[in-house]
Each structure stands twice: as C-alpha cells, then as structure tokens.
C-alpha cells in the first residue's frame, strides 16, 4: 500500500477518535487532570488539552494558557505510555490450596486493545526500547506482548519543545520517523496526517480530508525544525558509554549523591525504566495472589541479598541508574536507555539534571 499524506480538520480528528472506538479500541490520549497533562481515556476532541501548554524546568512543572487553542501545544507530562503497556500494578497468578497441594492459575491476558493518541517521537523510541526488553530477549513478557501487539499508535510531531527536552541530541525526535500507524502535525485547526502502516492508511481513508499539498508538507517540516531548534536541554551523547564506565569512581557521584533523595521519581516517570518487584498477598479464603509492581533501583531493598544490600549508598544507586540508562543499556539491548524526554529532570524534586551530570563528569 502506498501512503499518501492528507490534511484533516477538527472534524477529521473527531472522526479519527470515533473510528478507533468503533473499531473496538480503548482510545487514550492527553487530558488535563490535577494541574498536569496526563494520559487517560479520551471520548472526543473536547477531552484534549485545548489551549494549554506547560512550563518545565529542573524540579518544576506548571500548566499555562496558550494564546491559541492548539490541542497538542505542550511537551510530555508525568505519564508515559508504559503505564498501559507495562502497568504499574499487575496480577500475575493466584494459588489456592486444594486436595493435591495447591492449584495455580495464571491471570488472564487483557482483551482490550489500546489506541494511543498523541504519542511523541521520544515516546515512540521509548516503546521501541521496551519492545527490545520485553519481546526480544530469550524470554518474552506475555503481559506486555498482549497489550503491545494490538495497539494502534497515533503520533504527534511536537510543535513546542519543553524546557527539559533533549530528544534532538539523542536522535530520538522531535519528528516521528517510525513505529507509528499515523502521525499528525498540528497547524491551527488543521493537521497534516501521514500514515506509517497499512492499518494507519486504511483508517485515514475513512476520515473527511483533502489531499496534502507540497506546501502543507513543507510547513510540517518547518514545525519540526523549529522545535528541534528550541530544545530546553542538550546532552553531549557521543562517547557517553565509555565516559561513564571509565569514571565509576568519579567524585561527581558523591556530589550528586549529596543532592539525590533516592525518591525514585525519575524511574517512575521514565518511559524506558522497566524494573518490577513481585509481592504475594494472602486473602481470607486461604488463597494467595501474586502481583507485580514497578520497582526502582533507588530503593535499598532493590539489591538486597542475605547479609545486606549490594548498593547500600545513594551514590551507588544513582550511579546504577545513570550508568544503566546511558551505558549498560547499550551493552544489554544495543540501544541507549534514554530518549531525552526530560521527565526525570522535571519530576526530580531537587532538579537533578542528567544532562548536567554528564557534562560535569565530562568536565573533569
């Protein structure tokens, strides 16, 4: 199938949401809640954050009014799509005593299919990274697989870079290049829609539209270029793998440890962090249920083995986090674990900035 870009209006966007839900998808997208833009169920265009933008900096996130009514005029918020593909809390199995000893039943795989509306380029890269972790190792995570396989991804090319964004320097954005079914570039009241898959092209064909002109496509390229030029942060990423692994005893680790609260916020908001812990809950009927929840390498217990934790100091835990993101990840999965979304900077209560930490270690 050859893919032709088209232009749609707000009616086209409404039709897109409608078509996805008619096709049986649970449509999820950005919406304003508790003074932040989060990802949740979207019933129609009205649920999108029209006229909102965000102000982001180290340890700072504020919503602000825009002087237009753009629907996607902000950067990423505290949520990442991983909360749907790799849920924060998941039931794994249930064990019940029976005459033979015990009976174990695996939790059923979900039947719902997700459509994500408004996936940013950095997030497409983050999903591709989690695909490597959960689908391409010797073992596959059946829970992730079930959620991921049926998903429909509508990307948005960012029109505004956030104050903590640095995707341009990680080569992960701001323009979506792969891994989506459809991608949108927003102009006032209008969108350029480009299909990235047969499913996307088929869906696009059902929407009210007009053919895109060269000028429309040119305009969309200009949006991405403008955004790339206005990144809030920059990461000097070349050679960072060796830089960090050659400097495991650098004094900067002590410096950052003195500021880090070991709260784990960075790992919770990071779209690629995948670590989990299991716990068993016994109920009154005598059965036990095993659940899995997001865990963080910032907790002391994370590395506990009999006799004590492997990483008892905040210094060693921050070092684990950053060397994993930027160095060991490459050894493990052939890709960086950081997509430059900036969430860890924004949501760090003391504003620790991964780009700044790399700069400091590079500096001497």
């Amino acid at each position: 199938m050859s893919y032709h870009p088209s232009m749609i209006g707000l009616d086209g966007l409404a039709a897109l949401i409608e078509a996805l839900s008619v096709d049986g998808f649970r449509v999820l997208g950005p919406t304003v809640r508790d003074d932040a833009i989060v990802y949740d169920d979207i019933a129609g265009v009205d649920d999108l954050p029209a006229g909102w933008t965000d102000e982001q900096d180290g340890g700072r996130y504020r919503l602000k009014r825009r002087d237009d009514s753009a629907l996607f005029g902000y950067a990423v918020g505290p949520h990442a799509w991983k909360r749907f593909l790799h849920p924060p809390l998941l039931r794994l199995w249930r064990a019940e005593p029976d005459s033979a000893g015990m009976k174990l039943t695996a939790a059923p795989e979900p039947e719902e299919r997700f459509a994500f509306l408004g996936v940013r380029s950095c997030e497409l890269h983050a999903i591709a990274i989690q695909d490597k972790v959960f689908l391409q190792g010797p073992y596959v995570d059946p829970h992730y697989k079930a959620r991921r396989e049926g998903a429909f991804l509508v990307a948005v090319n960012c029109g505004t870079a956030g104050g903590t964004c640095f995707c341009a320097s990680m080569n992960t954005g701001p323009r979506a290049t792969a891994g989506f079914d459809l991608t949108l570039t927003e102009f006032t009241g209008e969108f350029l829609v480009e299909p990235g898959s047969d499913a996307g092209a088929a869906l696009l064909a059902r929407l009210p539209q007009r053919a895109a002109t060269e000028a429309d496509i040119e305009r969309a390229r200009a949006v991405s270029e403008r955004t790339a030029a206005s990144m809030g942060r920059h990461m000097q990423a070349d050679g960072v793998h060796d830089l960090l692994l050659d400097n495991l005893e650098h004094k900067r680790w002590d410096d950052v440890a003195a500021r880090c609260l070991s709260c784990g916020n960075c790992t919770q908001v990071c779209p690629t962090c995948f670590c989990t812990a299991v716990s068993d809950v016994n109920d009154l009927s005598g059965a036990t249920e095993r659940t899995r929840r997001w865990d963080s390498c910032f907790s002391v217990d994370f590395s506990y083995i009999h006799g004590g934790s492997v990483r008892p100091s905040p210094r060693s835990r921050y070092r684990q986090w950053m060397t994993h993101k930027l160095a060991s990840w490459v050894d493990q999965f052939g890709t960086s674990g950081c997509v430059g979304c900036g969430r860890c900077i924004t949501w760090c209560p003391v504003g620790i900035d991964i780009t700044e930490e790399v700069r400091a270690i590079r500096g001497g």
Partner: protein, 270 residues
C-alpha cells in the same frame, strides 16, 4: 510464568540449618536441566527464592535442592515435611560449561553450602569420568559439624580416580583430617596448573582469594569459573533486580568465566 507444583518426597537434614529436599512433580513429568542451573522455589503464601539445583541431572525424576535457613522464606521452608507441596519455576540460567573443559584436569574449590551448586557438576563429571584428566575437590568448612553431603564425600574419597581435600578451620583435638583454610588445600592439589580448569563457589570475597591463589599457581583467569548471587524476582531477565553492569545474573549467569566479570568484582557497590 506460573510455578509448577512439586511434592517433597524426602527431607534430609544435612547440618544444622541446612536441609535437602528430594522433589517429585505432581504430574510425574521429568525435570530436565543442566548442572549449574537454578530454580525459583515458591512456598505457598510465604515467598519465592532462587535455589541452585543440586541433584544428578541423569536422574530427572527427582529434583534436588539444598537450602540453608537464613531468613523468612528459608526458615519457613525448613518447617516443611515430606508430603508438603511447593512451587517450582525453572530451570534458569547458564549451566557450568562442562563441554568446554573436556580433556583438562579439574579442580573444584568451595566451602560449606557452596558445594550445593557444584554437586550436580561433580556428579556429571564422574558420569563422564574418562572425558577429563585429574579431578580434585577442595572443600573447606568451619568445623567438623558443618560438612555437607557426607555420604557423597565418603564415596568420592573412596574412589581412586579423584581426590578430595577436605579441610576444616578448627577441629577438636584428636581430629585426624586436614585443619586449615581452603587456600592450603588448593596448594596441595596436584593438577597440571598450566592447563587445569577451576570451578569456584564461595562468597565474593573468598572467591577473589581463591582466584588469586589459583593465579599464583598458574591457573589463568580465563580458566576459572565462578557463580554470582544477586537479588532475583523474575529469573527471566525482565525485572531488573539481578543486574550488574552489562549482565543479568539470571539469564547471563549465574555461572561466569572469571576474566569476563572481574571488572565488576572490583568496583565497590556496583
């Protein structure tokens, strides 16, 4: 991955606080694994822990685990009697590289419970005895009361085609065996050091000490095989707990060639 129920057929009290289980799957299916691999062992309503498989892999109808009671899960498991049912997930991890060491003299270096992960390998080496050169086991314990697998040790010592250097740290007067550290037992071994392959199963500090001793005798670090222990929750490379730098101990280990992980050993709290 859901645990599969196994019944404890037999409990052997090895030494105080250490017990061995012989397990049979409820569905009667054989449990196929290779020496050096481990299972996640689950006690209903208590918890799940990684445990090496300590049996003879040529007897797949009996799964053998030896466990030391050190905390909540292992203490609760110590209370279980024959007939109780536990859950098993596995086998996981990379086994000992037995085919890579064919033709060489083999030296096993371990102490107290460290024999558990090596026992299956020693059994297999003895099944394939003609594939290897000399076979020496250097086994150290604190005292004469914490010698594990006594029946095996007796059998092994009686064989003409292997040597067992059993050494205890302290012994009552009149004890006629070797007294002292494992290091001295290693030095006493008579193997072809320039080609011997060593298998070391001890704590990380003591592993280093053994590796240094072996290196002094001419066993280069690419001929030393060790195991690592890390917190494990999934055992299938997905939960992140067992990471050390580039490797996941659950899927890339727990067996490693020493020279390939030496840098990880030398960084504190890595």
């Amino acid at each position: 991955m859901v645990p599969v129920p196994f019944r404890i057929a037999k409990v052997i009290r090895e030494i105080p606080g250490v017990y061995t289980w012989h397990l049979k799957s409820l569905d009667g299916k054989p449990f196929v694994y290779r020496p050096g691999q481990f299972n996640m062992v689950y006690q209903f309503g208590v918890g799940e822990i990684p445990v090496s498989i300590s049996g003879d892999c040529r007897e797949p109808d009996t799964l053998v685990h030896t466990i030391r009671a050190v905390g909540p899960v292992t203490n609760a498991m110590q209370q279980l009697r024959a007939g109780a049912v536990v859950g098993i997930r596995g086998p996981f991890g990379r086994p000992w590289p037995i085919d890579e060491v064919v033709g060489s003299d083999l030296i096993f270096v371990t102490s107290t419970i460290g024999l558990a992960p090596l026992r299956g390998l020693i059994h297999e080496v003895l099944h394939r005895r003609e594939d290897f050169g000399k076979v020496v086991v250097c086994y150290g314990t604190r005292g004469i009361d914490d010698i594990m697998y006594e029946a095996d040790l007796h059998k092994w010592r009686a064989r003409f085609d292997m040597h067992v250097h059993l050494t205890v740290h302290s012994a009552p007067s009149g004890y006629r065996g070797r007294v002292g550290g494992v290091v001295a037992a290693i030095r006493a071994a008579q193997v072809d050091w320039p080609s011997a392959q060593a298998f070391v199963c001890r704590s990380e500090t003591l592993t280093r000490q053994a590796v240094d001793t072996l290196a002094g005798l001419g066993v280069t670090k690419d001929r030393v095989w060790v195991t690592l222990e890390r917190n494990m929750q999934c055992a299938i490379g997905l939960c992140g707990h067992c990471q050390i730098g580039p490797t996941f101990v659950c899927k890339d280990g727990p067996v490693y060639r020493y020279d390939q992980i030496e840098p990880l050993y030398s960084v504190r709290e890595f």
